[in-house]
Amino acid sequence: MDPIVQVEGLRKVYGATVAVDEVSFEVKEGEIFGMVGPNGAGKTTTIECLEGLRSPDQGTIRILGLDPQRDGKILRERTGMQLQQSNLPDRIKVWEALDLYASFYSKATDWKELLIRLGLDEKRNTPFSKLSGGQKQRLFIALALLPDPQLVFLDELTTGLDPQARHAIWDLVRDVRAKGKTVLLTTHFMEEAERLCDRVAILNQGRIVALDTPAALINGLEAEERVIFTMDEGLSPDLEKALARAGRLEFQGERVTVHGKDARKVSLVSEVVSLLAGQGIPFRDLRTEQPNLEDVFLCLTGRKMRE
C-alpha cells in the first residue's frame, strides 16, 4: 500500500535561515505520526508545506499521492487541518461554526454527531470567544474532521492546555485513529509524543535526528532506569553489596537511588524489591523512573528540550 504521506528531501529557507533541511519521511495509513522538537526546530514549517500553506524550496511532497501545491483544492476536500494560529469570529456560536464549515465540503460528515463525540454538545450555543482553550481546540478538531478526511494534520494541538484537558484531547486523537484515519501531528511535549504517537520523528534545527517508534528510540538509547526508595533504618553492608550488584547506588539521606540497566532477565525493580523483601527490611515510597524521549533528545542533541 502506498504511504499516505511521502516527503523527500524537503528544504525551506527564510532569508538566511534554513528552517527545514533534507527532511524525508513517510507516514503509513492508520498511524499517529508525530514530529517533535523544541520551538524553532522546523516542525510547523514542515507541516505547513505538507498542508500546502507554504511552498517548499526543494524536495517533493506527496499527500494521498497528490502534490499539495498543484492539487491543493482536491486535498483540502480530503484532509483535515488544525492550525497553530487560527481563529473563528468572536461571536460565532459553536454549532454555527460547524454548520457553516460543513457547507464548504461536498461530502461533509454529520456535524451534530461530531458535536456529541467531542463533548461540545452542551456548548453548542456558546460564542467562540467564551470557550476555554481546551474547548476551542476540541472545536478545531471537530472542524478538521468535518470533511471525513483520510488524513488529519494537528499542529501543536495541546499547547497552552492544562494536563487534564491535554489528556482528554489525547483520547480524542486516539479515537480518530480508531476510526481508521491517519494523523500527522507536531508537538514540543516529549511526553505527548511518547504516549500518543505510533512513530516519532525528532527534529532539531531543521533536520530529522531520529525516527522510530517511541519504544525503539528509548531502547536504542540504552539509558539507565532508576529505582528510588526510602529506608528509615539504613543499609547493612551485605545488603549494600547485593544492591550494588544490581546497579550503581546513590544516597541522599534516607533516599536510595539504584541506577541500572534493564537488560537482564529480571527487571531492575523486581530485583531491588526482592532483595529488600528477602531480608525483611522495611522500605517505603518506592518508585521507578524509566528513560523517556526527553533523554533521547538530550542524548542526540546534547541539549535539553526546554532551554
Partner: protein
Amino acid sequence: MKSGRTIHCLLRMSWMEGKLFLREPVGAFFTLMFPLMMLFIFGTIYGNQSSPESGGQGAIDNLIPAFTAMIIGITGLMSTTITMATYRENGVLRRLRTTPVSPLVVMIAQIVVVFTMTSLGMLLLVIAGKLVYHVQFEGNALSMLGGFILCSLSFFGIGFLLAGTMPTARTAQIIAMVLMYPMLILSGAAWPRELMPATIQKVSAFVPLTYVVNLLRGLWIGQPWGNHLLDIGVLAGMLVLGIIISVKIFRWE
C-alpha cells in the same frame, strides 16, 4: 468546487456574516440607527416645510439621499475594512484557507452582507421619512435603486483596499476613522454642502463621497442620469479599480 456548491457556500456564508454583523453592536448602530437618529434630530430642528430657495424641497427631502450617502460612506469605509482586517489578523481567514472555499466567496459574502445592511439602513430612513415627515420622492424608483447599487459597490472597494494594504487591523481602523469624519462633512452627507464656504466646497471635489451625494440627491428629485455623467464616471472608475485591486491584493494572512 462546482458552481452550485459555490452559490450554496456563498449563501451560507452571507447568512452567517449577516448574523455576525448584527451581533456587533457598534457596526449595527452606525448603519441602522445612527442615520435614523440624525434624521429625527434634523427633522425636529428644521421640520419639512418646503422652501422656495431649495426648489420646493423641504429640509428632510434633501436629507434622505444625503444620509443614504452617509450610510454608504460609513459601511464602505468602516465595516468592510474592520471586518476584513480583523479576520486576517486573528487568523479567521487562515482557518478558512484550509477549506475548499475560494477567497472570492469570502469577499463576495462580505459585500452581500454590507450591501444588505446598507439597503436596510436606507429603507429605514425612507420609511421613517415617509411616515413622520411625509417626504416627497419625485424620482424613478428603479433609477434610484441603480444609483444606490453603483454608489455602494464602488465604495466597498475602498474598504477592501484599506483592509488589504494596512499592516494591522488597528491601523486600518484608525485610517478608516481619520478618512471618514472629514469625508462625511466635506461631501455634504452630514449637512448640505451649500451651507459651507466656497473654498471648502472646492475641496469637496476631491472627496469620493461627494459624488455619491450628488448622484443620489439628483436621482431622488427625478433628475436624469445624463445630468450626472461626472459623478457616474468617477464612481464607475472607483468600482472597476476597486474590484481589480481588491482581488489582486487579497491575502489570507
